[in-house]
Amino acid sequence: MTSIVVLNSLLLFGSGLVLIGIVSSLVASRFGAPLLLVFLAIGMLAGVDGIGGIPFSDFRATYLVGSLSLAIILFDGGLRTRVSGVRGAVAPAAVLATVGVVITAGLTGLVAMLVLDLAPLEGLLVGSVVASTDAAAVFFLLRAGGLQLKRRVNAMLEVESATNDPAAVFLVVLLVQLIGAGGVSSTTEFVNLVLRQAIVGITAGVAGGFAITFAVNRITFPSGLHPLFVVAGAVTLYAMTALADGSGFLAVYIAGLIVGNRPVRAFAPILSFHNAATWLCQIVMFLMLGLLVTPADLLSHAIPALAIAIFLIFIGRPVAVWLCLTPFRFPVREKLFVSWVGLRGAVSIFLAAIPMLSQLPNAEVYFNVAFFVVLVSLLLQGWTVTSAARSTGVALADPAPEVSRVEIDLPGQLDYEMVGYPIVADSPVMGRGGLPPWARAVLIVRRNAVLTPEEAGALRVGDYGYFLAPPQRVNRLDRLFAPFEGHQGRASAGVFSFGPDVRLGELAATYGITVDDDVKDQTVGSLFIDTFEEGVREGDRIALGPVTLVARGVHDGVPHTISLILDSEDADVAVVVPTTAMERLMAALVARLTPLQARLADGTRRLTESLRGAVSRWRARL
């Protein structure tokens, strides 16, 4: 009886923590705090030195849950990576994820060796543990900040953070084996080990990816089991590869890449299931890692750990980024940004648990140092990632449009996807009065009536339309159904217009703007087409140093005129003329409290946005 009570309390406790974690996401995005840090903090609060006071030090369980979570997260990362969207970003990302990880690990390892007084291999182990970046953290923060990054930077960061996890895992597992075995017996053995991990990992990944795709498309499971089959397949692939001495993480990422880029039945439910699964994995993993750490021990390693964190953030990562990206002609500002978003996350802490499991000497030092580095990175970089994107000009002036799209799976159909959109006023589809030739209306819901497109005639505001479109073009539809914000609320001071063939270099020379050499010959038209790959919309903006370019006269996703907004110095200032005594009093007050008021307004806006975002995300998921 008592044991059932214990188990039920355990259940209550665990689910309670997860619930708190989910609810706290609302608060976290309000403050722009890294969500993962919040999960970690909740775990720590519940843990041994916190209010929960729960002693948890089961490294085996942590490793089990951690590797399961990471396998699912990495598979999901592959699933979401569009090969066509990342062309041109793959090579730099791959270099950064391999050579970059080794450089970061090496440099940081050197510092760790010095400040922690370790042997070279042990130092390198510390460096490797903290060498990989955390994709989930970066992208959650950027989205929460309402930012859209330039395409190449975005794609590069996405691919890098997904592929550098396997690279770091790989290094750590290798070093743990080497240290455990008492050092390297020969260079050949070392190279053999590396090659075996990589080759087995890649082969298993490719084979597994095709196998999963084949099985999903051929076998008809009862509905609802497809996504589960895919997840189970991914985890099986991970475990099998790892047992065969291959890199399981590399394998699941590659398998995800294959599944995500081949026509797959029931892809929409698979993606949405993975979305939820990935969230759950992140939450559980971070809560567990928070529980695992003993804050008191953490503090005893604070000073060397801080030194390592500072070195990693300000020297290690930037040096690696510079060495890896310079050959690809990335502009300085983009390299600065990429350096700054080297956020560390769960992978590092998880990796630090491996030496613990293998019972290496100094294992608890590695663990606590890694934990501390992650904390510093999440706090320092996580909190400033939005402003870093804006100040380095990597962010676009306009975030992607937010539309509420409903996806419906068409069983047995790979060439078309069915999507539903509410028809809103001022959306391009209303403006141009029709659909592109590749999209077909299926049914229209008007008030309470369900109509065929013939019965419905032209779309009306307030309708809900369902359309068939090829899966790779669905994103383009988003733009058609998003409300057009255009130049609303923005005084367009001094608008000059240019044809799309004007080169950036010419504009730069005329207006004293600095642009990087590699884009000088690019035309403004192609800049828009490159930047907004889903099709340029009327009013899309690109910030170019002090000026802003606006797409005008857009036809079929191609702008015919580019307008130049010179500055926005008073664009956002709303002027209120006080007329009554009360208003005058208020105006005087407001004038006194302008800085505070601005902060408040900003806070309210962000709160509303995050709430709205959360609501629409929930809706989309339900």
Binding site: A493, G494, F496, E569
Partner: protein
């Protein structure tokens, strides 16, 4: 950025007589050369080069030709009201009757942009345009342009 910093009372032409865009730019260059001591051809070439990227006609009968000729050492503005509206290849296709020429030194950078923005903003005020188009008196034009600038800095204007 005050308009008085770049516009002097002599640099206001109340009734310039031209037949087309090219002639207008030529005449403006000549006047600018006289007032600044720069080479007329230099100015004209600079303006022409800028027009090749796209017309500086910003609509509603207004054009703001601009550029950075060599050897200029300060921001320089020149305003002309045309006797007869001319075609300026403006985006909205409307003939242009008000031209504000702005020249800037290579080093002006942000000041150049601010000055352009300021000029554009003033010339987009319907109220200002109405008053400008109602007079041929250079002193009055100068006053409207420079005061309009002061007025836009007051709330509620």
């Amino acid at each position: 950025m005050a308009l008085t910093d770049l516009l002097s009372p002599e640099a206001v032409l109340p009734a310039l007589k031209v037949n087309g865009k090219k002639q207008a730019l030529q005449e403006l260059s000549a006047h600018a050369a006289r007032l600044t001591g720069l080479d007329e051809r230099d100015i004209f070439e600079t303006l022409l080069q800028r027009e090749r990227l796209g017309s500086t006609g910003i609509g509603d009968g207004i054009a703001i030709p601009h550029g950075k000729p060599a050897k200029i050492d300060r921001l320089f503005g020149l305003f002309a009201r045309l006797e007869r509206p001319i075609d300026f290849e403006a985006l909205d296709g409307q003939p242009v009757d008000l031209i504000f020429l702005l020249l800037a030194p290579e080093s002006a950078g942000a000041d150049h942009l601010k000055a352009l923005a300021r000029v554009a903003r003033i010339l987009r005020e319907p109220d200002v345009l109405e008053r400008i188009r109602a007079t041929r008196d250079p002193a009055a034009l100068f006053a409207i342009l420079t005061q309009a600038q002061a007025a836009t800095q007051q709330p509620g204007d």
